[in-house]
């Protein structure tokens, strides 16, 4: 059963349609990531789920009930904000206890839950500190603990890792995922970081300009992007798109390899690649260039292993490159994925 469901949610701010007809559902225990560029409406959508914003039209269902007119506190949700929203004047213990106090939970119960949550997140030594005395990672855990003690139906997380430095973010990502697997609570996680989305999400919902572009597992999203936006939003460097019959042909840089690196036998699409620039990134090399003979000169990238047989390729070279036919993606004139096209480039 869908634990949380959104049916045709729209949100209008003046002339701007921030959320444009999004429908999706979150399954029990699932980690769903809302991924999109900044300003795409993903946070607005999350706030609508939380009840902090009211949708212009559409229904929100939580636990099977329509909660359109239910205030945030009664929706059975807990939210972690981008800057955590910790109460600066309260100690860690009181921050975590606050949502319980508002529900008039008995004292003993509050103490028990605070202890349970802080121990689970290993912050039980910080109980008497104020938020300003905590590091970014500790603050994030306090915010999580505060969300956890409410024992919500669903966690709503709004870019909770964006305030951490890059190094901490990696470890926090692992901890967060582990934490979610421990507590088994459904989670909706908003981020603009594709690495976070790919690494943590059971499913990813890609949103752009208020529209849901695609929803699926990380593999589905990466291997079978529904349209050009999804194709180019995910992956570093993003998928190459070259023109073809008004539509376009897409292939990921890591699949675009020197001809000699691909075994004969499988169907290949060959392209003469004019290398213009090369970046050596330690574990890999990224080549930038164009495909000779194409009318519109579009920059195409190729990602090669750092030390491969094709070490000899230099900037300025024209070298035969190829993609396996099975790794080509076709997009129609409308930018949407088209099936059944053949790997013919001519």
């Amino acid at each position: 059963m869908a634990l949380v469901a959104a049916n045709h949610i729209k949100k209008q701010f003046g002339d701007v349609l921030a959320v444009n007809d999004i429908s999706l559902s979150v399954h029990d225990g699932e980690f769903l990531v809302l991924l999109g560029p900044s300003g795409c409406g993903k946070t607005t959508f999350l706030r609508i789920l939380a009840g902090l914003e009211h949708q212009t039209s559409g229904d929100i269902l939580i636990g099977g009930e329509v909660v359109n007119d239910v205030p945030p506190r009664a929706r059975g949700i807990a939210m972690v904000f981008q800057s955590y929203g910790l109460y600066p004047h309260l100690t860690v213990a009181n921050n975590i206890a606050f949502p319980l106090r508002t529900q008039n939970t008995p004292r003993a119960e509050i103490a028990r839950k605070v202890e349970w949550a802080t121990r689970l997140l290993s912050i039980d030594h910080l109980l008497n500190r104020k938020p300003r005395q905590l590091s970014g990672g500790e603050r994030q855990r306090v915010a999580l603990a505060r969300a956890l003690v409410r024992e919500p139906t669903v966690f709503l997380l709004d870019e909770p890792l964006s305030n951490l430095d890059a190094k901490l973010r990696t470890s926090a990502r692992n901890e967060l995922k582990q934490f979610q697997q421990t507590v088994q609570t459904s989670t909706v996680y908003v981020t603009h970081d594709q690495v976070e989305a790919m690494g943590m999400g059971d499913r990813i919902a890609v949103i752009d300009h208020g529209r849901l572009r695609q929803i699926g597992t990380p593999t589905e999203i990466y291997d079978r992007p529904a349209d050009e936006f999804v194709a180019t939003f995910l992956g570093t460097p993003p998928m190459n798109l070259v023109e073809r019959d008004g539509g376009s042909l897409g292939f990921r840089p890591e699949h675009f390899l020197p001809r000699e690196m691909l075994k004969n036998g499988s169907a290949l699409a060959e392209m003469p690649f004019r290398v213009e620039r090369m970046e050596y990134l330690g574990s890999e090399r990224v080549l930038y260039g164009t495909i000779e003979g194409m009318k519109a000169k579009r920059v195409v990238t190729a990602k090669l292993p750092a030390h491969a047989a094709s070490d000899g390729i230099r900037a300025g070279d024209l070298h035969p490159f190829a993609v396996r036919a099975s790794e080509l993606h076709y997009f129609g004139r409308d930018g949407r994925r088209a099936e059944g096209g053949q790997g013919v480039l001519q």
């Binding site: 902090l52 939210m79 981008q82 800057s83 929203g85 109460y87 600066p88 104020k130 300003r132």
Partner: protein
């Protein structure tokens, strides 16, 4: 021998580079302020101390030392104690009313409504208008014959024409009138302080409180107020100092009357020390403000440090 790098002392000595140094620039900037405080606050304070222990009066401008005689006489005076009490009541009362109204006003002005910009500008007026003008307007509103307040009350049938309240003529009413004007003058300051305070509360914190189940009162008194407390405390210090030392409202509205019922330290000191020419006693009365303000400021600053978030 060739010098690799010639020492160019001349450059370092140029005065315009001297100003680039914080340890030169800093004191230069702060000097006028210090000078101002020393000359216009420190010096008069010392002078008042000296007047207080002398027999100086306008009629006998001698610096004859009389010790604590003046102080004894002031302390024995019933009017003085009454005045001190009045001053405290005015200060505390108007702070409470002013800040309370300020908070309500700020909360109303936070809401979106047509004409909010104009409303915000108008609210500042009581603070911006010169005290003499404002008090004169109030004086007419409280006037025994032409009071617009009384006219309204009579027109509404609330009071009898024959028994109109004499706002500035009855002791309790005069007291209330002075307090009202003080609170009215303080109110915009309260509004600004609370508006600034509200704006400084992070949106995430408010949203978190909403999600956590805090209703209107809990959000206001357990989240917002503690967060903006440091700002409010500073407003309280300012308001207290301004009201405690103020004599203009009382002087323009009631001259401390009727029968000293609205007398404050400032107005009493002015009457005794300047109008009656008894500079020595006036100085002693004035000096009474000092310990009170000192205590108030220390207490408030301490509260501020404790509340630091």
């Amino acid at each position: 021998m060739t010098t690799i790098a010639e020492t160019r002392r001349a450059v370092a000595r140029r005065p315009r580079f001297l100003l680039d140094r914080a340890e030169v620039m800093g004191p230069m900037f702060i000097a006028p302020a210090i000078l101002y405080v020393l000359v216009l606050v420190g010096l008069p304070f010392l002078l008042a101390l000296y007047y207080g222990v002398s027999a100086y009066s306008i009629f006998d401008p001698s610096y004859r030392f009389v010790g604590l005689k003046n102080l004894d006489e002031v302390l024995e005076s019933e009017i003085f104690w009454h005045t001190l009490w009045n001053t405290l009541l005015f200060t505390i009362g108007s702070q409470i009313i002013g800040l309370l109204l300020g908070k309500i006003g700020a909360m109303l002005l936070m809401k979106e409504f047509p004409g909010r910009g104009i409303a915000r500008a108008l609210v500042i007026l009581p603070w911006a208008v010169p005290v003499s003008l404002a008090t004169l307007a109030w004086k007419w509103m409280f006037d025994s014959l032409y009071s617009v307040i009384n006219w309204t009350l009579v027109a509404a049938g609330l009071v009898d024409v024959a028994n109109q309240p004499q706002w500035l003529g009855q002791q309790d009413l005069a007291f209330a009138a002075v307090m009202t004007v003080h609170a009215w003058r303080l109110f915009p300051f309260g509004v600004i302080i609370f508006l600034a305070g509200f704006a400084s509360v992070p949106k995430d914190v408010l949203d978190a409180a909403t999600v956590d189940g805090a209703g209107f009162w809990r959000r206001n008194y357990q989240i917002i107020l503690p967060i903006i407390a440091p700002i409010v405390v500073i407003a309280l210090i300012f308001g207290t100092v301004f009201t405690f030392t103020d004599l203009s409202v009382v002087y323009l509205l009631t001259m401390g009357g009727p029968m000293n019922s609205t007398q404050v330290l400032g107005s009493l000191a002015f009457q005794v020390g300047i109008l009656s020419g008894d500079v020595a006693h006036g100085a002693v009365i004035c000096l009474f403000m000092f310990p009170f303000l000192l205590v108030a400021v220390i207490a408030l600053l301490r509260a501020l440090r404790r509340r630091e978030i």
